[in-house]
């Protein structure tokens, strides 16, 4: 099914709302067209195009709520979905924390759509794969990669008169290039909304260069090192930490932002004063929808960390009401201030250190301190006197992003990124950090 226009989405949502017999009704319609190509061993393995549109209806009677979704859009199906949601609402136990649906919200449109990205076709995808494969073959290397693009729309509406509609596009590209003997491996990732900011050849060449440079890695003793972390090396660490900015968890004493004796650490300085982080749905590089899909609240530009101090926490509507706070839409992006310095400049300013391309398989070890473990991967190098000296074996680290953001020496230029496992669009800088804790060596290449 083709993506719906604003008028079509409004007509459907009005109809759904009119069918509801509940005390309140919420509607979410989303559709997407997603294309992808996957390759490995220097050959395309799979390619596909998936189109889907889905309607989600939530109906409540008092504090009892039911949810139904359907992907058919004739009047009969729309009514069926509403009746199903009503049936489930009647079966569901009452939820004392139920919140009535929001009243009128102002959604100021953000620039999330690029026609050029929406126009990506199979030939374009094949060409992306071809750049990697051909250049890899020329260098006697083996490429594996995945390129995906999407063109979507979302519409939300409720029985209190809220309505929002917006289109968005995105693309994500990852490529891993390995030497034929498996002794070297390089990687690159690009994720942008506008394809004109994407250069497949440049990305593949970064992976190729790293693969060639990473051969014959030497072992360095595990320990605390000054590190230059490229943005992809910190994206998931930061994603984990910002996922823990929930005010309720902090107030309940089960977060690193809980205060001894009760309450939370809002306003306290937890990080180096160079750390400035905010969210802004209208940022031109990492624009996101101007509302929070979970609760329909409008998003706002909001400081999260200012000068190293906790500037804001994330309040659910229930918790905000209980604590006498104002709830706004949860962040969809995370932006961290950097400088104009390139990664090369950060390297040039480093006497001794380790350059980390990316980190991998990151898991929470202790939420009390946000201690995370994971490994470096696909390009880890030793730096001496401002220059990359030689490749080194990968490390396992056990480190907290809170400590990492306290130990910042220098920040680089922010880059657009999405984390492997994080929910945010990110615009974050490379950073030089002292005393990063590598706890063991890995033989993995």
């Amino acid at each position: 099914m083709k993506n719906l226009s604003q008028d079509e989405a409004k007509r459907i949502s009005d109809k759904v709302l009119s069918f509801s017999k509940g005390d309140q009704c919420e509607v979410n319609i989303s559709g997407s067209r997603k294309g992808n190509i996957r390759y490995a061993r220097n050959a395309v393995s799979t390619a596909g195009l998936i189109e889907d549109t889905q309607l989600t209806v939530s109906v409540a009677f008092g504090k009892k709520q039911g949810i139904a979704t359907i992907n058919e859009f004739d009047d009969k199906s729309l009514e069926k979905a509403v009746r199903r949601a009503e049936d489930l609402a009647r079966l569901a136990p009452e939820n004392p924390e139920f919140m009535t649906t929001p009243t009128k919200q102002q959604y100021k449109a953000s620039d999330t759509f690029s026609q050029k990205t929406a126009d990506i076709d199979p030939e374009f995808r094949a060409q992306v794969a071809a750049y990697s494969i051909e250049n890899s073959k020329k260098n006697k290397l083996v490429a594996a990669g995945f390129f995906s693009d999407s063109s979507s729309f979302t519409a939300i509406a409720n029985s209190n008169g809220v309505f929002g509609y917006q289109k968005d596009t995105g693309l994500d590209f990852t490529v891993t290039v390995r030497t034929e003997d498996g002794r070297g491996s390089g990687w690159a990732k690009r994720s942008v909304g506008d394809v004109s900011k994407f250069d497949a050849r440049e990305a593949s060449n970064v992976a190729i260069e790293k693969a060639l440079r990473s051969v014959d890695a030497k072992a360095l003793e595990p320990g605390r090192y000054t590190v230059i972390l490229e943005p992809a090396a910190t994206s998931d660490l930061l994603g984990y930490m910002f996922g823990g900015f929930d005010a309720r968890q902090a107030d309940e004493g089960r977060s690193f932002l809980s205060k001894k004796g009760g309450g939370n650490r809002l306003g306290e300085k937890l990080f180096d004063e160079q750390v400035n982080v905010w969210t802004d749905p209208w940022d031109k590089d990492v624009a996101v929808l101007p509302w929070d899909g979970q609760n329909m609240l409008a998003r706002e530009r909001m400081d999260i960390i200012k000068g190293g101090k906790i500037a804001n926490l994330d309040y659910s509507r229930f918790w905000a009401q209980k604590q006498g706070k104002r709830a706004v839409g949860s962040p969809g992006n995370i932006i961290m201030a950097g400088t104009n310095k390139s990664t090369e400049e950060l390297i040039a300013n480093t006497k001794k250190g380790v350059l980390v391309t990316r980190t991998w398989y990151i898991r929470m070890v202790d939420p009390q301190s946000v201690l995370l473990t994971g490994l470096t991967r696909d390009g880890t190098f030793y730096i001496e006197n401002g220059k990359i000296k030689h490749p080194i074996k990968n490390f396992r680290f056990n480190e907290s992003p809170v400590t990492m953001l306290n130990n910042i020496e220098e920040l680089g230029r922010p880059e657009i990124l999405s984390g492997d496992e994080s929910q945010y669009q990110l615009l974050i800088p490379a950073m030089r950090v002292r005393d990063f804790n590598f706890t063991s060596l890995s033989d993995a290449v």
């Binding site: 490995a40 979704t69 199903r84 079966l91 939820n95 924390e97 979970q294 993995a444």
Partner: protein
């Protein structure tokens, strides 16, 4: 890789509007109506004919109906009750030596025929870029057959109120036990999978699965400390009878430190213990880092087996097809070919299967119509085999597939996924208490915790739920801040003891991720309590600002 998908599902910030991501929500009474067998056969035949006429040399069709129900609770509140359904048809073909795949939710003859033709068109386009044509290991058609998960109690017939009451009772018990906060969830799955292929198979399968995770968190605001303990149940390929809490299915952990469960689970009892132990963890002794002999319960072992044996012996990883995402494998073909690669000590025998009743991977036939079976992966410590699908069997000289093909939905293309991969019990009679008697300086670990391993599966770090000091043959006090770090081959070669089959049971994963776009699968891993000597233990306590 054990992905974080579940964490997203169980997140406390879960939004109601995002819940039915599993599929289309439906009313409870509709769940029991099956799709008529003849209708599925008619759709399948339509697709097979259309694909063959369009030039396919092979075609398989999967007509799927996926039903889920999940209930989420927080403390004494039921947060959500959701039923979902997803139905449609996936068509895979080979044309010109290449694969093509297309899927549709248009379950009409015209809809599936169009999908079949589209799959052939994609295959022909891919054939131009193909360097090695697909070779399928032969499968003899089985005609019209059926297989169903052997269940006693169908979750679809149990009242929602009964289930919600059980979860709330568990949360209440946990809070009485000492937890400040509780969360419990119930995932219930029914997959109705119909497979047909040009080999002459029409296979109708009805699969059931269940999982009930519970989380207890204890908070001490005076010290600003919090600790949690997760439930010790296992996700299972069983019916609702797994929640029967039968006394004969309860066993005591070594030293009697907690109760563990075999063929059924006492959710309320375990939730109460979780609350109590979460509170104990607040004041437990912080571990002294160093080398210890580890005694690992099956509730812990499953995840270590999954990450350090299950994933590295997936043949697609070994060959490089997952290089850009999950990674490759240290268990390369030359190591297998040598017939001498010592993966572990001589007592390490690892078997793959999709036949163990009650396990998550247990099905009659895989998603390319191969009858499921059991085979050795590691024998007497030596790497002897991998996990393969039809198109991989020839690479390792096998004449038939291992039956490892799986797709997580009708709309996803099937590929190589992990069967149950299990450590066999020790041959010598031994109980966990007898195993502990012989340990001078050790740690007993129960339950799975934090887990991380590199992309070639050498270096790993695992946590757990409960840790107890072992001193001179006796289980001592509770420890905290424990994680062990090792290298896969060194670790398995340090295996120095296995309890016997009386102690053998399975744990598993409901959300094992792999592939791009990512798909999740389900898999169990069995073990008896096992001993590993001289493993490096680190202390994970840290202070921040």
């Amino acid at each position: 890789m054990e992905r974080r998908a579940f964490l997203n599902v169980s997140s406390l910030a879960l939004g109601t509007m995002l819940l039915p991501a599993f599929g289309r929500a439906i009313a409870a009474e509709e769940l029991l109506k099956p799709v008529a067998l003849q209708f599925k056969k008619m759709l399948a035949d339509t697709a097979l004919t259309a694909a063959t006429q369009a030039g396919a040399s092979y075609c398989d069709v999967r007509v799927g109906r996926y039903l889920n129900q999940f209930i989420t609770t927080r403390d004494l509140n039921v947060e959500n009750v959701v039923n979902t359904e997803s139905a449609g048809v996936g068509v895979r073909v080979i044309a010109g030596g290449a694969y093509g795949f297309a899927a549709t939710n248009d379950m009409t003859p015209d809809g599936v025929a169009a999908a079949a033709r589209q799959a052939v068109a994609i295959a022909k386009a891919n054939a131009k870029l193909q360097t090695e044509p697909v070779i399928l290991a032969p499968v003899k058609g089985v005609g019209e057959v059926a297989w169903a998960t052997p269940i006693v109690k169908d979750w679809r017939t149990v009242a929602i109120k009964e289930k919600a009451d059980l979860l709330i009772a568990a949360n209440k018990a946990g809070m009485e036990g000492g937890a400040s906060f509780m969360q419990s969830l119930l995932f219930q799955v029914n997959q109705q999978k119909y497979f047909a292929s040009t080999d002459g198979s029409y296979i109708d399968q009805d699969l059931h699965r269940l999982w009930m995770p519970v989380f207890a968190t204890a908070v001490d605001q005076k010290t600003n400390k919090f600790r949690s303990r997760q439930g010790l149940s296992s996700p299972v390929g069983m019916g609702y009878e797994y929640l029967d809490a039968r006394p004969e299915h309860k066993i005591k952990a070594a030293g009697g430190v907690t109760t563990l469960y075999t063929k059924s689970y006492d959710l309320i009892e375990d939730a109460r213990a979780a609350g109590k132990q979460a509170k104990q963890k607040l004041t437990a002794k912080s571990v002294e880092p160093g080398k210890y002999d580890l005694v690992l319960s099956p509730e812990h072992m499953w995840l270590t087996i999954h990450e350090s044996v299950g994933h590295p012996t997936e043949l697609d990883r070994v060959l490089g097809y997952e290089a850009n995402y999950a990674g490759t494998s240290f268990a390369t073909l030359d190591k297998w070919q040598s017939k001498k690669f010592k993966y572990g000590s001589e007592m390490v025998n690892i078997v793959a299967d999709k036949t163990t009743p009650g396990s998550l991977a247990n099905v009659g036939y895989d998603d390319e119509g191969v009858k499921c079976k059991r085979w050795d992966i590691i024998k007497d410590g030596i790497l002897v085999n991998y996990q393969a699908t039809r198109d991989q069997a020839h690479i390792i000289g096998e004449k038939e597939s291992h039956g490892c093909s799986y797709a997580d939905n009708w709309s996803s293309v099937q590929f190589q996924r992990m069967p149950n991969v299990s450590l066999q019990a020790g041959k010598k009679k031994m109980t966990p208490d007898e195993m502990v008697k012989d340990v001078k300086k050790g740690i007993y670990i129960v339950g799975d915790g934090s887990f991380s391993i590199d992309q070639q599966r050498y270096n790993f770090q695992f946590g757990g739920q409960l840790f107890y000091e072992i001193k001179n043959g006796k289980i001592g006090e509770m420890l905290e801040d424990v994680a062990y770090q090792s290298n896969t081959q060194e670790f398995w070669n340090a295996c120095a003891g296995l309890c016997d089959e009386r102690d053998w049971r399975m744990g598993g994963s409901f959300f094992d991720g792999k592939g791009q776009p990512s798909q999740v699968s389900v898999v169990s891993h069995g073990a008896s309590t096992a001993r590993f000597n001289g493993i490096n233990v680190i202390n994970t306590a840290r202070k921040i600002g």
